[in-house]
Structures are given as C-alpha cells and as structure tokens.
C-alpha cells in the first residue's frame, strides 16, 4: 500500500469518454431506500480514469447517499454497482478502499487533535519490528508524508502540529494527498470547496486537477456549478433523488448547468407566483440565472 497505482494514461484528455474503455466505477439504475423513504432512484453514473465526474445537486438531492454507496458506508437497494465491470456490494469503507475507492469528506476527513503525519497514515500505519515489539515507523511515515504533501504543493514546517491548526483548504489537501498516496484510483470529494473562501477553493480545485492528471478518476460533489465547470469532464445533476441531467462537457454550457442547478422549471413557477404578489417587479427578473450570478440560494453552505 505504499506506492500509488496511478493509471498509465495520464494527461491525455478529451471531452468525449474514452472509447471502449471500461469505467472504474459504474452505477446502473442504482438506488437506495431507507425503509419507506426512497432517497435515490435510477442513477446512472460512470467514472473513468483521468477524468473528473461532477455530481451537482441542491441540499437533500441525494448527493450524500450516492457517495455513501460508492464509498461503502451504505449499500444500494436497487440497480447495479460495478467496479472494474464486476458487480460489487461493499460491507464497509475498508473494502471500498481495498478496491481503490477513497472518499474525502468535507467534515470528517481528519482527526483535528492528531498531528498531521498521524492523520496522513491513519488506518494504514507503517510499522517495523517483529510482533510483540511491532511499532510505528515514525521516521519513515514523517518522511513519506512530507514528500507526498510537497508533491501536492503543500509545505508544512512542522508535521507534529495538530491538523486542527491547518486552514480548511490545507486540511482538504492533506486528505486528498493521503488518498492519492494510498493508491486510490477513484477519489470521491464531498463538497471540498463548500466551506472555503475563494482563494482556498482555488487551491483545492488545483489539487483536483493534479489528481486527475495523475490518472485518477475523480467524483467531485458540489453545489457550485462554477467550481464544477472549471475542472469537470462530465456533469450529473441530481434532483429529489433522481438524475435530472447527465451530460459531457461538450454537451452543456455553464449557463445551462447553472440553470439546471437552480432548477429552471421551478424558478419559472416561482416567478409566476411572485407575479401574483403586489410589489415584486418580475419584469426585471432574468429568465434564467445569468452566468456569474449566484447559481442557487444555497451556494456556499455545507
């Protein structure tokens, strides 16, 4: 588990899916019900090596359920979930990790009070020595963590400092570097930019591009279409647990994406309702959210 399994096809990127290549992870009509509540239904999604698949959706659209299925925290209750073309049913995150699927969660990526290097190797610690005296190989872990972080462009003076003292963007990057180091082939990023400022978001987007160029398949969950459009190759928009849009980059513009995110049809209905209310000047409202405007009322919240 110490070498990265970066796929051989690196930086060659096209807007069309690689012809005939098997996706690393694929969902076919997958869904999930919690008792009588159907959280997710009929989802088709394919993740290819060296490409960024963006999953967009408002709060409650089913994004979290989707990543929980792929990362092994929950099991799907309908449809198929394939890894490397074979149907799978993970019983836990460890199993997903063993197949090279790593999730980086926005809120639970790290243990704040633990030093950076301990966080980096958490769950996959390097050890030395025979059994009763088997102990952590601290020197090697610190060295490796430092090298990997530098390779991603993060320089920390002190790997002993608790991760909680790093900025939000840096913490995300530590988690991403960790996943890449441990041979992740598929990286699931759960709203990595949601809690960050503009500059920090830019830093994280750069790492997403860097991970993609190392040949990883990236699933980038967000509700910010602008962030998605900067790095994405394929866009899937979820609405109320179903797939509203699934399009390659060449088939969709940022305006269309933003419109889908904001719920174009619903906005039209809302505009009609507002027209009934005295005092709201609907003539000045745009037909669809303009590029650069706030794409959805919920932008930026976690």
């Amino acid at each position: 588990m110490t070498t990265d399994n970066a796929a051989p096809h690196g930086a060659v990127l096209t807007d069309t899916p690689p012809g005939g290549e098997r996706p690393l992870v694929e969902l076919r009509g997958a869904g999930k019900s919690y008792g009588t509540v159907r959280a997710l239904h009929g989802i088709d999604l394919a993740v290819h090596a060296g490409r960024v698949t963006c999953v967009l959706g408002d709060n409650g659209a089913g994004k979290s359920t989707l990543i929980k299925i792929i990362s092994g925290l929950h099991q799907h209750t309908e449809g198929e979930f394939l890894v490397d073309g074979t149907p799978v049913r993970f019983t836990g995150p460890r199993e997903a990790l063993d197949r090279g699927i790593a999730a980086v969660y926005q809120d639970l990526a790290t243990v704040p009070l633990m030093p950076v290097w301990r966080n980096f190797f958490l769950g996959s610690e390097l050890t030395k020595g025979p059994w009763p005296f088997r102990r952590l190989d601290i020197a090697r872990m610190k060295k490796t963590a430092d090298e990997e972080l530098r390779a991603m462009g993060i320089v920390l003076d002190d790997l002993e400092q608790p991760v909680g003292t790093l900025s939000g963007g840096q913490r995300q990057c530590v988690a991403i570097a960790r996943a890449v180091h441990f041979g992740a082939r598929v990286l699931i990023l759960d709203e990595p930019t949601a809690a960050l400022g503009v500059k920090q978001s830019g830093v994280v987007l750069k790492y997403i591009a860097a991970a993609r160029d190392r040949g990883l398949g990236v699933i980038f969950i967000t509700h910010n279409p602008h962030h998605a459009y900067m790095v994405g190759d394929h866009f899937s928009v979820l609405r109320l647990g179903t797939l509203e849009l699934s399009a390659a980059r060449s088939e969709v513009s940022l305006e269309e994406l933003t419109n889908h995110m904001a719920g174009g049809a619903e906005l039209a209905a809302l505009k009609h309702e507002l027209a009934q209310v005295r005092g709201v000047d609907v003539e000045e409202l745009p037909d669809a959210p303009a590029p650069g405007s706030r794409p959805a009322p919920s932008e930026g919240d976690g």
Binding site: L13, L113, L122, T127, L136, M152, G153, P162, L166, H226
Partner: protein, 356 residues
Amino acid sequence: MTHQAAPAAGTGPAPGERQDTGRTVRRSPLLRLLARPEVGVFLGALAVLVFFLAVAPTVRQGGSMATVLYQSSTIGIMALPVALLMIGGEFDLSAGVAVITSALTASMLSYQLTLNVWTGVIVSLAVSLAIGAFNGWMLVRTGLPSFLVTLGTFLILQGVNLAVTKLVTGNVATDDISDMDGFDQAKALFASSFDIGGVQVKITVVWWLVFAALATWVLLRTKYGNWIFAVGGNKDSARAVGVPVTFTKVSLFMLVGFGAWFVGMHQLFSFNTVQSGEGVGNELIYIAAAVIGGCLLTGGYGSAIGPVFGAFMFGMVNQGIVYAGWNPDWFKAFLGVMLLGAVLINLWVRRTATRR
C-alpha cells in the same frame, strides 16, 4: 470569479509552493511544551509534593513516601486503562465495583469449591474481561452513550456483588482464603512487599510503573495507540479511513476489565477476604485521576503518563492531609479544587492546541 472555457490546465501546483501567507507560524517551544497533556499535571503534582514536604515533616521519611506511592498505585493501576478508554472517547462507571466483582469471583470460587486459588484467579480474569466486552459490545451495538451503558452495568454489578455473596457465604464478606493452595504464590505476584534501603515498598508500585511505561509505549508508538486517539478524536473519520472502531472500543473496555481484575486480585491477596459492598465511588476517583492527568473527557487527547501524576496527586493529598495532622474531611474538598483546576487547564490547552 473567472470562468475558464477548458478544464484547468493540468500542470498542478508547483512543488514547494507555499500555500499560506505566513499564517502557520511555528508556535513557541514553551507553548508547545505546555500543550503536552502531562505537563500541567506534572507541575501540579510537584507543587503538591513540595507543599506537603514543607508542612508535614513526616512525609520526608522514606516509609511515608512508600505509603503515599502504595496508595497512588492502587488508584493509578486502574486510572491507566480508564485514561486510555477516555482518550478513546468513552468512560466506564462500572470500573469501581468491577474490581470487587473480580475479587469476589476469585475468592468464592476457590473457597466454596476448594480449588487452587489460581483457578479462581484465572476464572476471575475471564469474568472481568467478559464484563468489559459486554460494556463495549452494548455500546457499539446500541450506540448509546457509555455513561448510560456503564451506569447500568455499575448498578447490576453492585447488586450482584451483594446478593450473590450473601447467598453463597451467608455474610457480606467472603471467607478467609489465606490457607488455601497457591495463596502464597499469588500473594507474591499481587500483594508482596520488597525492601529498598530499609523501606518496605509494595509490589503494586512496580506494577503501576511497568503498566504506565507499557501504556505510554502502546499509545505513542503502536498502531493500536494511533487508533485509540482516532476513535476518540473523531470516530466517523477513523471509520472512514479504515480504523477498526468496534474492535478498538471493545478492547479498551476489556482493558479496563483487566485493570479491575489486577486491582481486585491485589485486594484479595492483601486482605485475604473481600467486603462485597466496597468499590462504589472509586470509578469517579479513577476518572478524576485521568482528567487531572490531562485526558480530555470527550476523548481524542491525553497521555498515559499524565494519569500517573494524577494518581500520585491523589495519593499525596490523601496521605499528606493525615501526616500534616489536618482533619481528613478536607480531602474531598481539596480533590474537587484540583479537578476543577485540571479541567480549566485542559480547556485552555485544547483551545491553544487547535487555534488556527
């Protein structure tokens, strides 16, 4: 915000590029030393020691210090696993009565069935580990707070201790086992004394320090220690990166069971008999020693060496008040002040350590 027509150019950030604008300034070495979990309690223990050396001349004798250390060791041996469990994010209210359960099991099994005491000792170890495993299993399966689960176990054990003892012996105490096979060997292991320069030192002091060294090594230098910090610091993160959370939590409770067994055996082989109603309230002393020792009640932070000093403070204050000729009623008040002080220091340390 600018838009790019194509995906971001794939050069990635240049290696060595600085991500911050001088915001991760190194904290001063003094601040970082103070942020160690055991430093505060070390200074506290030192202060208490110096104080009693000054006000109570008796403390300066070797024999008194041996008594202080003995008192500290019986608390300290239990405070260690309780501290590890606390770092792992849980606590165990049944630890106090579990000690008595363990001693009662060994005593009654050996005496009533006329077995070699070692049979009782081994069976009692199994029972203690099983109680710990039960606590951990209940916690993991139900997701209830450890406070509730172990409060239940505490009440169950307290009742069972009394009822079963009365049922078996017809008395609230067990029978004297000092003339049984294997007693002397077991006493040598759990409750003997040895001589250092004319001062009799109890063997529990040695065990206490050995266990503390072992716990420190495990906590800081092994995978398992890493997992303890992780499950206490952020259980969900730990689980998501593949740490076996269930195993870690259950084994920590079993470790408390082991500690209870060891202290129980010490009590049995020191006094030859066990009072079935004892042990109530001790669980809070162990928890207090761990908290004074710099362990965070909510988990994820602490050390094994801190509770050693925490237990020493307890022993020192407890005996020191007697040696100084004060009213021992003040003991608990003194403890309360120490506990509050320790909690405030912990709070400050955590804020300093995680300040951005």
